[in-house]
Amino acid sequence: MEKVLETKNIDKFFRKPVPFHVLKDINFSIHKGEFTSIMGKSGCGKSTLLYILSTMDTDYTGELYLKGELVTGLDPARLSHIRNKDIGFVFQFHYLLSEFSVLENVMLPARKLGLLSPEEIEHDAMQKLKILEIDHLYKKRASRISGGEKQRVAIARALINNPSIIMGDEPTGNLDSYNADNVFNIFQQLSDEQGLSLLVVTHDQDFANRTDRIIEMSDGRILPATPKAHGILQ
C-alpha cells in the first residue's frame, strides 16, 4: 500500500530553557486512506511531532518523506508550497481569519495555489461547504459563527486543495460532545468515502478508539503498536 507519510529516525531537542530531548528516534509511516490517531500524555511530544510532520517545524534531525519524497531540508518557499498543496490542517484554536467571510476563508489556500480560476475555486469551496452541511453560512463573517461551525469551516478549508493528508491538533478538544461527535463523523466519512489519509493528535480516548489505528507516545518515543482490541479491553 502506498505510503503517504514516512519518518526515519526523527530526533528533536529543545534547547531552551534547558536542553531537553523531546523526540527520540521516531520511525513510522501512514498509508493512504488510513485514519490514524496519536495519543499520549501532555508533554510526551505528540504535538511537537505533528508540527514536524506538517513541515512547519524544520528544526530536527532525521528524515521526513511525503508521498515518497524527501521533504527534510527543502527551502521554506518549497515547504510552503507543499503545505498549501498536500497538507490540510485543522487546529484546536486559531480557526479562521476573523475578518473574512466563511467562503473567503475556505477559498484562500486555493487562491494561493492558483491552479484554478476564481469561479472554479468558488464552486469547489461551495461544494466542500455543502459536504460539511454549512453552505448556508457562506456569506457570514468568520467571527460571527459558532465554535462547531468554525471547526467545520476549518475542515472545509483543509480540504479545498484536495490534500494528500489532513492533520489535526486536538480538532475536537475545544468542542462539546455533540460537535466533537459531528467532527469525528465527518473525518470518518472523508476517510471511508474519499480515501483521505488523516492523522489526528488527541487526548480523547473515545475519539482515538474509533480510528483505524492508534499511535501511542510516551516520553518522546512511540510505544510498540498495540492491537486495537487491547485498547477497548482496557
Binding site: S47, Y51, S54, M56, D57, P76, A77, S80, H81, I82, R83, N84, K85, F89, F91, F93, H94, L96, L97, S98, E99, F100, E104, L108, P109, R111, K112, L113, G114, R157, N161, D169
Partner: protein
C-alpha cells in the same frame, strides 16, 4: 510564485477592517505631503518673486566710469625711489569725465559679444525738481525705454501711464511715485527740472514709476536718452552707464573682469552687487526642505507604528496563513502592500490638499506698497514638486512598511499556534 490578487485582497480586507487606523495613518501622509506641497509652492513662489524683484531690475553687469584716485601716483613711477617708502598726503581723484569714452562703439561691440543678450545705454544725472519756490534734489536717468522693458521688465514698475507714452514724447518724464506724491502731481501735469547750471526744462509727466524701494522712488525719475542729453547740453554720444543682460548669469564675473581690464572702466557684476541676496534664497530653500522632510518623517513613523500594531494584532492570522501554505515572503508582501496602499492613498490626497491650499493662497489678496505689480500671494505651481512629493511619500511608506513586514515574515507559526 506570487499571487498578487490574493495578497492584495488580504491587504485590502485588513485595511478596511481597521478603517480608523488606516485613515489615521493615511492622514499622516496626507498632511505631510500636503504641507510639503503648500510650503514648497509658496516658498519658491516667494523666492522667485524676490529674485525677480532684484534680478529683473539689476543688470548682470553694470559699466560706468568711477571717479577715484589713481592707484599709481607719479612718485611710484619714478625709478629713483623704488627702494624707498613713499608717503603722499591728501591724494585727490584724477580729473576725469563722467561719460564713458567712445561709448557708442563700445555698445556696438558689447551687443555683438558672445553670451550678451543686450547692452543698453543710460545717462544718469543729478537734477532738481522745481515745485513753486521749493527745489527737490533728485536723479534723472535717460533710458532707451523699450529696450529697458524688453531686458529688465521695466514696465512692471510703471504704475500709471505706459512706456510707449514715454517713447513717443520728446519732453516726457516718468516721475518717481514718491516725488509725485510730495509735489501733488498727476499724469498729464508738467514738472520743471533744473540742471546743475540752473537752466530750467519743463517736462510732461507721461507716467508714474514705483520700484517698491521708497528711497529710490523719492528721488528717481526717468526720461528718454535724448531728453536727458538735452538737459545736460551734451551730444548724443554722451553715455554715463551701460547695463548688460546676459544669457547666463554665471558669465557675469568673468565678463566684468574682462571689461575692466580691456576698457579701463568700472564693471560691477550682479553676484558682487547682491551677494547677500543669494544667501537668503539658499537659506529659505533649506528651511522649506528641512520642514517638509521632518513632516514626512513624522508621517513615516505614524505608518511604522500602525503597521507594527497591526502585525501584533494579526499574529494569529499570520500563523494561519503560513500554516495553510503562504510563504514568509507572501506574508511580507501583504503587509508591504498595506504600507504602500496607505502611502499612495495618503500621498495622492496630500497632493490634492497641497494643490487646493496653494490655489487658495494664490487667490489671497496681498497688497503692499513695496510691490506694485503683486496683488495676491505669489505661488509657484511647478509639477516637479508634485512628483517629488509622491515619490517621497512612496519611499517613506515603503521604508516604514519594510521593517514591520520583515518581522511578520520571520514569525514562526508553530510558536504562535502552540502558544495558545
Amino acid at each position: 510564485m506570487t499571487r498578487w490578487n490574493v495578497i492584495l485582497s488580504i491587504a485590502k480586507t485588513h485595511l478596511l477592517a481597521k478603517i480608523k487606523q488606516t485613515t489615521t495613518a493615511a492622514l499622516g501622509v496626507t498632511f505631510g505631503i500636503g504641507a510639503y506641497i503648500t510650503l514648497v509652492c509658496f516658498m519658491t513662489g516667494l523666492n522667485k518673486m524676490l529674485d525677480d524683484l532684484i534680478l529683473n531690475q539689476t543688470p548682470h553687469v553694470h559699466i560706468f566710469n568711477e571717479i577715484e584716485p589713481s592707484e599709481k601716483q607719479p612718485v611710484d613711477l619714478y625709478q629713483g625711489f623704488t627702494e624707498a617708502m613713499h608717503v603722499v598726503h591728501s591724494i585727490k581723484p584724477k580729473q576725469n569725465q563722467k561719460r564713458i569714452y567712445n561709448a557708442l562703439p563700445l555698445l556696438h561691440h558689447l551687443n555683438g559679444s558672445e553670451g550678451v543678450r543686450g547692452a543698453i545705454p543710460q545717462v544718469q544725472t543729478q537734477i532738481f525738481y522745481i515745485s513753486g519756490a521749493i527745489e527737490l534734489g533728485g536723479n534723472l536717468t535717460g533710458i532707451d525705454v523699450m529696450k529697458e522693458v524688453a531686458l529688465f521688465n521695466f514696465d512692471d514698475y510703471i504704475v500709471k501711464g505706459s512706456p510707449q507714452a514715454l517713447q513717443q514724447n520728446e519732453n516726457g518724464i516718468l516721475l518717481g511715485a514718491g516725488i509725485a506724491k510730495k509735489m501733488s502731481l498727476q499724469v498729464g501735469n508738467r514738472v520743471q527740472v533744473s540742471n546743475s547750471k540752473g537752466e530750467l526744462f519743463p517736462l510732461k509727466i507721461v507716467g508714474i514709476f514705483q520700484s517698491g524701494i521708497a528711497e529710490l522712488d523719492d528721488i528717481q525719475s526717468f526720461a528718454n536718452l535724448k531728453t536727458v542729453q538735452r538737459v545736460l547740453g551734451e551730444p548724443e554720444n554722451y553715455i554715463t552707464d551701460i547695463n548688460l543682460k546676459l544669457y547666463d548669469m554665471e558669465d557675469a564675473i568673468p565678463l566684468a573682469q574682462k571689461i575692466e581690464r580691456q576698457f579701463g572702466l568700472k564693471a560691477i557684476d550682479i553676484n558682487t552687487a547682491n551677494a547677500q541676496f543669494e544667501t537668503g534664497t539658499t537659506i529659505r530653500n533649506l528651511i522649506t526642505y528641512a520642514v517638509s522632510i521632518t513632516l514626512l518623517i513624522v508621517a513615516g513613523f505614524g505608518i511604522y507604528n500602525i503597521l507594527n500594531m497591526l502585525i501584533y494584532e494579526k499574529m494569529n492570522d499570520i500563523a494561519i496563513l503560513k500554516a495553510t501554505g503562504f510563504s514568509g515572503k507572501d506574508v511580507q508582501l501583504i503587509f508591504m502592500s498595506q504600507a504602500v496602499i496607505i502611502g499612495l492613498v495618503g500621498g495622492i490626497a496630500g497632493l490634492l490638499m497641497g494643490m487646493g491650499l496653494s490655489f487658495v493662497i494664490d487667490q489671497t489678496p496681498f497688497e503692499t506698497e513695496a510691490l506694485p505689480t503683486i496683488n495676491t500671494y505669489p505661488v509657484n505651481h511647478n509639477p516637479t514638486f508634485y512628483i517629488i512629493g509622491i515619490v517621497f511619500a512612496m519611499i517613506a511608506t515603503f521604508l516604514a512598511g519594510y521593517l514591520p513586514s520583515r518581522k511578520a515574515k520571520k514569525i514562526d507559526p508553530v510558536r504562535i499556534i502552540r502558544g495558545q
